[in-house]
């Protein structure tokens, strides 16, 4: 087993000892959301500014079914994944035909459309008040209302998600998506249908967002309107970039930094997004590969210094 996986396991075990269980759960949920985005952003080179479309839609649909029909937790998760994937297929189909700025603006515009549907459709979504009253049903005798029980559930699903994403990026598809990112014309000439494969990346990313959306709704017992808003879409892009979009593990680190900062600093200082802004500027100017790159550079710098002192003595 690699060092990265050991670090992830250690974090999963230690995190609930250090912070509130709900906060710890939120970190892993946001990490699942980030994993999905990073398949698009880091691997395929598509900056989607509308990921909350899939996150929120899944939250609303599964939340509604949980609230009114008390469906099984696994059914809720399955439906959430499906809603995430289907909504991503719809949005993706319209977006992958375009590239560059037009692509980004389309993901954003469609996100706004979904947002206003949720905003207007108050009988179902509760509009501005959100959709409260979503329970966490008992499953196999385990009461998920216990924060620790729910944390373990979320953490396990996160580990499964990470494993699935690792398989995907290490498969031929992972290589092909990177080839499309690097040079779409050549990828086409070699025999790949760029638009279709980008759509596939979208659907996979949407499925991950959907899973995260349902877990989020169950965590807080409510789907707030923000869960489908553009700020949420921005946050996940933000977190992924800070963590490092070039690496599978980047979004996990990003989620940790983002959620932890927003929780701990926002209590002390209401203007905390300013800090995030500064962090973002530093990343964009100095560390395009985010925390992952900063870490790698720190190690190579230390290594070089050690070599230098050894040579000097």
């Amino acid at each position: 087993m690699s060092r990265a996986w050991l670090a992830v396991f250690a974090a999963v075990i230690l995190l609930p000892l250090a912070v509130r269980h709900a906060l710890a759960s939120e970190i892993w949920i946001f990490a699942i959301f980030g994993l999905g985005l990073n398949l698009l952003l880091g691997y395929t080179g598509l900056l989607s500014f509308g990921q909350s479309t899939f996150f929120g839609s899944a939250g609303y649909v599964s939340g509604y079914l949980l609230k009114h029909y008390g469906i099984n937790v696994f059914a809720a998760l399955g439906i959430g994944v499906l809603v995430g994937a289907v909504s991503a297929a719809l949005v993706g189909y319209l977006c992958v035909q375009r590239s560059g700025l037009y692509f980004i603006m389309l993901t954003f515009a469609l996100n706004q459309m979904f947002y206003f549907i949720a905003y207007q459709w108050t009988t179902v979504t509760g509009g501005e008040d959100g959709m409260p009253g979503i329970g966490r049903p008992v499953l196999l005798g385990v009461d998920f209302r216990q924060p620790l029980a729910y944390y373990i559930f979320v953490a396990l699903l996160f580990l499964v998600s990470l494993w699935v994403m690792k398989r995907i990026v290490e498969s031929p598809l992972g290589k092909i998506l990177q080839a499309i990112r690097e040079n779409e014309v050549r990828a086409q000439a070699v025999g790949y249908d760029g638009a279709r494969l980008k759509l596939l990346a979208f659907v996979i990313g949407g499925a991950f967002s959907g899973l995260a959306g349902v877990l989020y709704a169950m965590l807080f017992g409510i789907v707030p309107l923000e869960a489908i808003g553009f700020v949420f879409s921005g946050n996940v892009v933000f977190a992924t970039l800070i963590g490092g979009s070039g690496s599978l593990y980047g979004p996990i680190i990003g989620s940790f930094v983002f959620i932890w900062l927003s929780e701990s600093v926002s209590v002390v200082w209401a203007r905390w997004p300013l800090l995030l802004g500064v962090a973002f500027v530093i990343v964009v100017i100095f560390f395009r590969g985010g925390c992952v790159e900063a870490w790698a550079r720190f190690w190579s710098w230390r290594e070089r210094r050690r070599m230098a002192t050894r040579l000097a003595s």
Binding site: R167, I168, E170, S171, P172, L173, G174, K175, I176, Q178, A179, E182, N183, V185, R186, A187, Q188, A189, V190, G191, Y192, D193, G194, L200, I204
Partner: protein, 250 residues
């Protein structure tokens, strides 16, 4: 038998007719060169063969099958591979991954392509390594494409085309931008491929063409003005006027 045949292929961009009524036959197993001055329409013709562009009129037939207007990713699956005049590789990927992706595309089945680990396809990796060996880059398999020299990138460009195990290989000025030394090496490489593949070679440097080609077609302002063996082309007065500007080279 002709592996590739075009019938009166024309491509117009508005008022500009880049390719004008070109009819051409490429014999299976031969090396067929297309020469002509810059802007004669040679690359446009390649783009028509490979589906990057759709002809305004005319037909393109590959192995008895009409491929006019077939999108480029489908054309690739039929077994037509090309190299590009401007280096067109995947910069941030390793050399092995560059050719691996091309080799994988020609695998008949997509089974497990989103789940099975990429290193569990030994036959694809083998073919990719063979393509790197063919162009002499096997020792640099793990380097990134953006880290190698321009000359090596030209070789990689060729390896990507070879990795697809093509039935028809379209080479667009493989020696573009190379030093005389590197050009010699590239010519030797192309000569080594002759007989193993059916090749269509675009060049505007006469000396490269004459030694290796079986047939030569000459393009000028979008039209074919002559076709024949290298010796016939060298004697052809029209070609000298149009292409060499009246200067006699021996």
């Amino acid at each position: 038998m002709a592996l590739l045949r075009t019938e009166n292929v024309t491509k117009a961009f508005g008022a500009l007719t880049a390719v004008n009524g070109v009819s051409l036959e490429v014999e299976a197993g031969s090396l067929h060169s297309i020469i002509g001055p810059n802007g004669a329409g040679k690359t446009t013709l390649f783009n028509l063969f490979t589906g990057q562009l759709t002809p305004t009129s005319g037909r393109i037939v590959f192995d008895g099958r009409d491929i006019t207007g077939t999108p480029s990713h489908r054309v690739a699956h039929l077994g037509i591979a090309r190299s590009f005049q401007r280096t067109n590789v995947f910069p941030a990927l390793s050399l092995l991954d560059n050719v691996w992706i091309a080799a994988f595309a020609r695998r008949g089945s997509w089974r497990g392509f989103a789940w099975r680990r990429a290193d569990r396809y030994p036959e694809v990796t083998e073919r990719a390594l063979a393509a790197l060996r063919d162009v002499g880059l096997q020792d640099r398999a793990n380097q990134l494409a953006r880290e190698i020299s321009h000359g090596e990138q030209r070789q990689l460009e060729l390896a990507i085309a070879l990795a697809a195990a093509p039935r028809l290989l379209l080479l667009d000025e493989p020696a573009a931008g190379l030093s005389p030394d590197e050009t010699q090496r590239m010519v030797a490489l192309v000569r080594g491929l002759k007989g193993r593949y059916t090749i269509v070679l675009i060049e505007h440097k006469m000396d490269i063409i004459m030694g290796v080609s079986d047939r030569v077609s000459v393009m000028h302002f979008g039209s074919l003005i002559a076709e024949g063996t290298p010796a016939e082309i060298q004697r052809n007065a029209d070609v000298r006027r149009a292409y060499l500007g009246g200067v006699v080279v021996e």
